[in-house]
């Protein structure tokens, strides 16, 4: 039987489930013409019974195997070995007096719920070099095969037609050379003008020195880019003497300079100053360090995963090397110190090689963030297929390592987001889940103009809520909406306001996701409007994890930031719920928050959705749409039953046919 568990690289198109099921030979061929019976012995009852029995077993096998096939199809997870499967010897939950929260223990059922369905999830992973090549989107990710914890890293590889449905491929690059034996770390792909593809990646050598290495596809005509070749000249770039040998990693995609050289950026630091340095090359094998640094910011520490790309108000996405009078450049870096991804918008001078931020007060590392929750080591790539720039990021777990070992996996990717300059403000980016995610929506529920007086809590009956796409708009009193401005001078801080339970004049109001009936567990995603002494309103967008779970070994922070709201705009948020990950987008993606939550009771059928208004002084009117989100899973796929149903029908007809023959013979 052809196994579906190992990826079938010879057949890159998704085989239909029907074909997948039909890999076995039926025990009897029902299509043979009936033999003349007169000259043969009548088939006796025991034999008939035996045949029916075998067919029944065959049906059972097909049912089981059919289901196993489906499980490995859409979410082929090469999960790390489960260590020490836990015997549930925990004592019975002793329920205390009413009002007491019962003591809690992680069970396999609770842990199993946490696995997301429409987010990319292999074992343990970081971000690497996403690229679109020959009709396929490629995701190369940092993979730790040994355990759900950071360790020896190799390049995992998966491909997709739509960045939603993934096919896992073999490991692209292993730690098999002295220059990457301690880790095949982050790199970037550059597509050359002749459509050739090269990869520059960081290797940790046998002495743990960080060096840059060149690699390319072994077979460029293979659209799946399964096999890779490391250049014999590696390492092609070693740390300059004035930099610490362990502060030299994550080279960016290269672009062509006016002089016709390829230029790329590497982040590093000098003392506590984070810097981005430039290298030029003709052939990706020998590099010239540029005298001027692209940029630096004091006090920000090491810059990891630097990203540098053009944006403009007119275009949704620009290829890396584009320059022009209306083009701005975004410089982004992951701050080693505080585990956040920061970006700033500014101007790049290709002649001097310097980039200058529009607003030095919100420079790289001290200003705007892609996402105010758990979001790190992110990277963009230019999608030539749809002419857009797509952002990927690594989302870690915020539960205990013990739980990660028990559930067998850790870390995932946020949904891919398009990233573009906000044409209305010009001073921030907009991120939005890629439109391909709309394809996996189903079961639309619409609610129009629900009036939420102060203190309201409205349950929304939308069916299961562990996989949801919610788009909601809030209308407030015109007096307030006209006063909302682009937040200035207000610190980006939701944690300081104490969470959704703290009532104030103009907030908080929003949604409760992954909430159980009695609200002992709930995750509010909300707006919170604050008026300062001058009468200027600022709007905060927050996700509050403080009551997301009664478990005590999970993170309970409150994340968020101010969000620019322009005059006359309604307040809007889009929330993607996918089990233990909640992603929020406010005002079309001006401010984004990714949250990890680990409820113990608000799971499966007990997870519900509410609208709430905890403000004391305003009434809010909410209109929203919810969709169920899902890839075809074992439970949802109707195709699972087609195979076994057909077998059943065939068996039925065969038995009837045999029966008829028996009767004919007797008569």
């Amino acid at each position: 039987m052809r196994s579906q568990t190992s990826p079938d690289v010879e057949n890159p198109t998704r085989t239909s489930l029907l074909d997948a099921d039909y890999g076995y030979v039926p025990t009897l061929d029902p299509t043979l013409p009936p033999q003349p019976q007169e000259t043969r012995q009548q088939p006796s009852k025991p034999i008939l019974l035996l045949i029916s029995g075998l067919l029944a077993i065959g049906l059972l096998v097909a049912l089981i195997v059919g289901n196993v096939h489906i499980e490995t199809h859409d979410n082929d997870v090469p999960s790390p070995e489960r260590r020490n499967p836990i015997e549930q010897g925990v004592s019975e939950k002793s329920f205390g007096l009413p009002g007491d929260v019962p003591p809690f223990s992680w069970t396999d059922e609770i842990l199993a719920w946490q696995a997301p369905v429409f987010h990319f999830t292999p074992g343990k992973n970081w971000m690497n070099g996403p690229v679109f090549y020959k009709g396929w989107y490629h995701l190369f990710y940092q993979y730790s095969p040994a355990a759900p914890v950071w360790g020896l890293i190799v390049w995992g590889h998966a491909v997709s037609r739509d960045m939603v449905h993934w096919r896992h491929l073999p490991i692209a690059m292993e730690t098999d050379e002295w220059y990457d034996v301690n880790g095949v770390w982050t790199g970037s792909t550059t597509i050359l003008p002749n459509n050739e593809l090269v990869v520059l990646y960081t290797g940790s050598t046998n002495d743990s020195v960080q060096v840059q290495n060149l690699a390319y596809p072994a077979n460029p005509s293979d659209p799946l880019l399964v096999n890779w070749v490391k250049d014999p000249a590696n390492p092609v770039l070693v740390p300059p003497k004035w930099i610490n040998k362990k502060d030299f990693r994550d080279p960016t995609t290269a672009w062509l300079t006016p002089e016709g050289k390829w230029r790329m950026v590497i982040g590093t630091k000098v003392n506590k100053t984070g810097i981005a340095i430039l290298y030029d090359t003709d052939d990706f094998k020998s590099y010239e360090l540029q005298d001027t640094w692209l940029h630096q910011v004091d006090g920000t520490g090491m810059w990891e995963c630097v990203d540098f790309f053009p944006v403009s108000k007119e275009d949704d996405g620009l290829d890396t090397g584009v320059i022009g009078p209306d083009i701005k450049h975004v410089l982004k870096a992951s701050m080693d110190d505080d585990r956040c991804d920061y970006y700033a918008i500014g101007n790049y001078n290709p002649k001097t090689g310097k980039w200058v931020p529009d607003n030095a007060k919100i420079d790289v590392g001290i200003g705007l963030r892609y996402d105010y929750g758990i979001y790190y080591a992110s990277k963009t790539f230019y999608d030539q297929n749809k002419k857009r720039r797509v952002l990927w990021s690594w989302i870690k777990e915020t539960d205990s390592e013990n739980s990660d070992i028990k559930k067998g996996w850790a870390s995932l990717m946020a949904v891919p987001r398009t990233v573009a300059l906000d044409p209305l403000t010009g001073s921030n980016l907009l991120q939005w889940p890629i439109e391909e995610l709309d394809k996996i929506r189903s079961d639309l529920n619409e609610f129009d103009e629900i009036k939420l007086e102060p203190g309201s809590l409205v349950p929304l009956d939308v069916g299961p809520t562990s996989q949801l796409d919610i788009m909601v708009e809030f209308e407030l009193d015109k007096k307030i909406t006209n006063g909302l401005s682009v937040a200035a001078g207000v610190p980006y801080n939701c944690a300081g306001h104490g969470g959704a339970g703290v009532r104030d004049a103009f907030g908080p109001f929003g949604l409760l996701v992954l909430a159980n009936q009695n609200l002992t567990e709930h995750t509010p995603t909300y707006f919170y409007i604050v008026k300062d002494k001058k009468g200027v309103y600022s709007t905060f967008f927050c996700i509050d994890q403080s009551r997301s779970s009664i478990a005590k070994d999970v993170d309970k922070s409150i994340y968020g930031s101010t969000v620019p709201v322009l005059e006359g705009e309604k307040l809007s948020m889009r929330i993607l719920v996918d089990h233990s990950i909640v992603e929020g987008y406010a005002q079309g993606g001006r401010t984004c928050i990714t949250s990890r939550v680990y409820p113990t009771e608000a799971i499966y059928d007990n997870a519900q959705l509410f609208l709430f208004n905890n403000a004391t002084n305003i009434t809010v009117t909410a209109s929203l749409k919810t969709w169920k989100m899902g890839l075809m899973t074992k439970n949802e796929s109707g195709w699972v039953w087609l195979g076994p149903s057909l077998i059943l029908v065939v068996v039925f007809f065969f038995v009837v046919w045999t029966w008829q023959n028996q009767r004919k013979n007797r008569s």
Partner: protein, 173 residues
């Protein structure tokens, strides 16, 4: 060589002086490092217990700290195994604690050591942060099930050591 020659005596004295200074300098370095941790005395105890600390840079000191976390974890696992026979009623919770400390010794510690050697201090910090979390989770699991914890001192010790090492690692960022 004339051992009693004034030159030789001077040379020997200078050598002694230098050694004394460099040891004092190393000691100062260790002291300063420990001052930046939540439990400076515990920090000194851990670091000075290992003679290698005298010639260590910050990464090496952190590695000594991680090794101390491992030793403590191994010791605590042994304690748990013994408790399982002496206090069978507590076995379910002790099982949970055993898993928690397993995570510390077999996942967090190796991950932190490897990250420190590779120069990626933040993953090392994560490992130590988790070690503290696991010790707290173990301690809480007793009270949550209505028992008195027989491991309070051990769990606190792990929590304190992990937090000290975490602080040292943060200095690398």
């Amino acid at each position: 060589m004339n051992f009693s020659s004034p030159l030789t005596i001077l040379f020997t004295l200078l050598l002694l002086h230098e050694t004394l200074y460099s040891t004092m300098a190393d000691q100062k370095f260790i002291e300063n490092t420990c001052k930046g941790t939540p439990s400076p005395n515990l920090c000194l105890k851990i670091l000075l217990a290992n003679p290698k600390s005298q010639n260590s840079d910050l990464t090496d000191l952190a590695l000594i700290g991680v090794a101390a976390v491992k030793d403590k974890g191994v010791e605590i696992i042994r304690q748990i195994v013994a408790l399982k026979s002496s206090k069978p009623k507590l076995r379910p919770t002790l099982n949970y604690c055993e898993e928690a400390y397993h995570a510390v010794v077999y996942a967090d510690v190796p991950s932190s050591s490897e990250a420190l050697r590779g120069g990626l201090a933040k993953f090392a910090e994560d490992g130590m942060a988790d070690s503290a979390v696991e010790s707290q989770a173990c301690e809480r699991s007793f009270s949550e099930h209505g028992w008195m914890s027989p491991m309070t001192d051990s769990n606190k010790a792990m929590n304190d050591v992990a937090n000290v090492v975490r602080a040292i690692i943060r200095m690398l960022l």
